[in-house]
């Protein structure tokens, strides 16, 4: 579970997160949606400790995000754009990350009683690419490596930032299967995505953000009901329209006063 209390973040003078209170419920799939510059990526980065908040608190499973990195043992993260060192081979990258997580290259445990899960490697057909340098992989294959790493460590919390971008339809389906598998295991999953149709049958909870604030925070069923549609994309589009109307109303009120 991720708990966010009064989170404030500014880049220079530009506010990105404005006094945000939020709970990402445990054991569910939550979709984090919103227009560009809504603060989604900053929120994800704050949960990972990559961004230092100006105020407020963010906690993962009760542990306040701070200087101690050990809480990230429980997190699997899939960034939007894979960025790997060109000269390393896929196998070396995986062994490297295994090592950082305290797992020996052969999968034997050195720190805690977990073994890495190699099933995602097979699922994405990466076995034949293990000896290829990362710099020679196509964008889609690199994204599959990204996914295989995120799902490799039996994480309690999966943070997936636009996970389907660049994946072919088969891999997208497999990725969704993996998300379901993890959800079935009791993991908490936070997905940011623009492709809402893909989240329709996955996300149970939805957080809609605009301008660093949450505009909707509830179950997808509630959202669909409130917006009187059974199409998630349309429901979020209506949220966006309502948000746009509200901000233009705010602007005209300011002008009038």
């Amino acid at each position: 579970m991720i708990e966010i209390e009064g989170l404030v973040k500014k880049y220079g003078r530009l506010p990105v997160l404005r006094d945000l209170d939020l709970r990402i419920p445990a054991g569910r799939v939550t979709a984090l949606v919103g227009p560009n510059a809504a603060g989604k990526t900053t929120l994800v980065k704050a949960a990972l400790g990559l961004v230092r908040p100006d105020d407020g608190r963010i906690a993962v499973d009760g542990v306040t995000v701070g200087d101690d990195p050990s809480y990230r043992e429980r997190i699997g993260y899939m960034p939007q754009h894979p960025a790997f060192p060109d000269n390393l081979r896929v196998r070396e990258l995986i062994e490297f990350i295994d090592g950082l997580r305290g797992l020996a290259p052969d999968g034997a445990d050195t720190r805690f009683a977990r073994r890495p899960d190699s099933a995602p490697l097979d699922l994405f057909g990466l076995r034949s690419s293990l000896d290829r340098p990362l710099g020679t992989l196509s964008g889609g294959t690199a994204q599959k490596v990204n996914a295989a790493l995120a799902f490799r460590y039996g994480a309690d919390l999966l943070i997936l930032d636009e996970p389907t971008a660049g994946l072919d339809p088969l891999s997208r389906t497999r990725l969704k299967d993996l998300i379901r598998r993890e959800r079935g295991r009791g993991a908490t999953v936070l997905v940011t995505s623009h492709v809402l149709s893909e989240l329709r049958d996955l996300a149970e909870h939805l957080v809609y953000m605009v301008d660093g604030r949450k505009r909707f925070d509830g179950t997808t069923a509630d959202l669909l009901h409130t917006m009187e549609t059974d199409d998630l994309e349309r429901a979020v589009a209506r949220l966006m329209e309502a948000g746009a109307a509200e901000s233009s109303r705010d602007a005209s009120t300011r002008e009038a006063s």
Partner: protein, 267 residues
């Protein structure tokens, strides 16, 4: 071994592997090797070849260190985020990255210049002192320029601006500082007397390195009265110690500043 140390060592190992496989570093080592070998052939003497290598290496090693260091750090930025999503602390990552790029770069420059010099010294039975001093100074300057490069890359987010600052820094350390020094020495000869001149030399790592090497290769005689003063200072143990301390400070201080910034920055 503590978990933090083990993590930093793993990152170092990965960095060494990544850098050592790049074409850049190999070309750099080979060019230095060819230069050293050519000078040995032309000069016909190891000590004179080493002396001849002083000026080119004082120009090239800071340039390569600054450019390679900033490029490497900017290039690693996205992957760093991925690494920091693992149970890895920022300081462990920073230390690991620095060592990971410093080891191959120092290795390439020291091997490139050192192999031909030391081989020639062995086969001709000449002294190792000069070549070893040169290699030590090259290693120190490489570390200094990498520390400065990391500080630049951590401080300036924009890659193009950062690269520009790195080049300016190099120009400042190798050319502008000396130009300023010479101008003051000529226009205000009573200001830049021995002691201020000594201090001014210690404030620029490239000048400190140059003086140390010039003393070694007995070129101080060319420098007249000031040369004699410098020889008195840098030729003695205290002077060598001061020069060593100045070079170490140039490695450590920018590195600590960069580390602190990296620890607090939004990545």
């Amino acid at each position: 071994m503590r978990v933090e140390t083990r993590t930093a060592a793993r990152i170092t190992r990965y960095g060494v592997r990544d850098v050592a496989r790049g074409r850049w570093i190999v070309v750099y080592g080979v060019v230095l090797f060819a230069l050293a070998q050519a000078l040995i052939v032309i000069e016909g003497d190891v000590a004179r070849a080493a002396a001849g290598l002083v000026n080119p290496t004082l120009l090239v090693t800071p340039l390569v260190g600054l450019l390679f260091g900033t490029l490497y750090f900017y290039g690693a930025r996205d992957f760093n985020r991925m690494l920091l999503a693992q149970p890895v602390g920022r300081l462990e990552l920073f230390n690991g990255l620095y060592a990971g790029v410093a080891l191959p770069l120092v290795g390439a420059s020291v091997l490139g210049v050192g192999l031909p010099l030391l081989m020639a010294a062995i086969t001709r039975g000449s002294s190792f002192g000069g070549p070893l001093r040169l290699l030590l100074v090259i290693a120190a300057l490489t570390l200094v320029s990498l520390s400065l490069a990391f500080l630049v890359a951590v401080t300036i987010r924009d890659r193009a601006a950062g690269m520009g600052v790195a080049v300016l820094l190099w120009l400042g350390l190798t050319v502008l500082y000396d130009g300023l020094f010479a101008t003051v020495a000529v226009t205000l000869p009573h200001v830049l007397v021995e002691k201020p001149a000594l201090v001014a030399t210690l404030l620029n790592p490239v000048d400190t390195a140059r003086i140390l090497l010039l003393m070694e290769f007995d070129a101080a005689a060319l420098m007249g009265y000031t040369g004699a003063v410098f020889r008195g200072f840098f030729g003695g143990n205290f002077g060598r110690l001061a020069a060593g301390a100045a070079l170490s400070a140039w490695v450590v201080v920018p590195l600590l500043l960069a580390r602190r910034r990296f620890d607090r920055a939004d990545l």
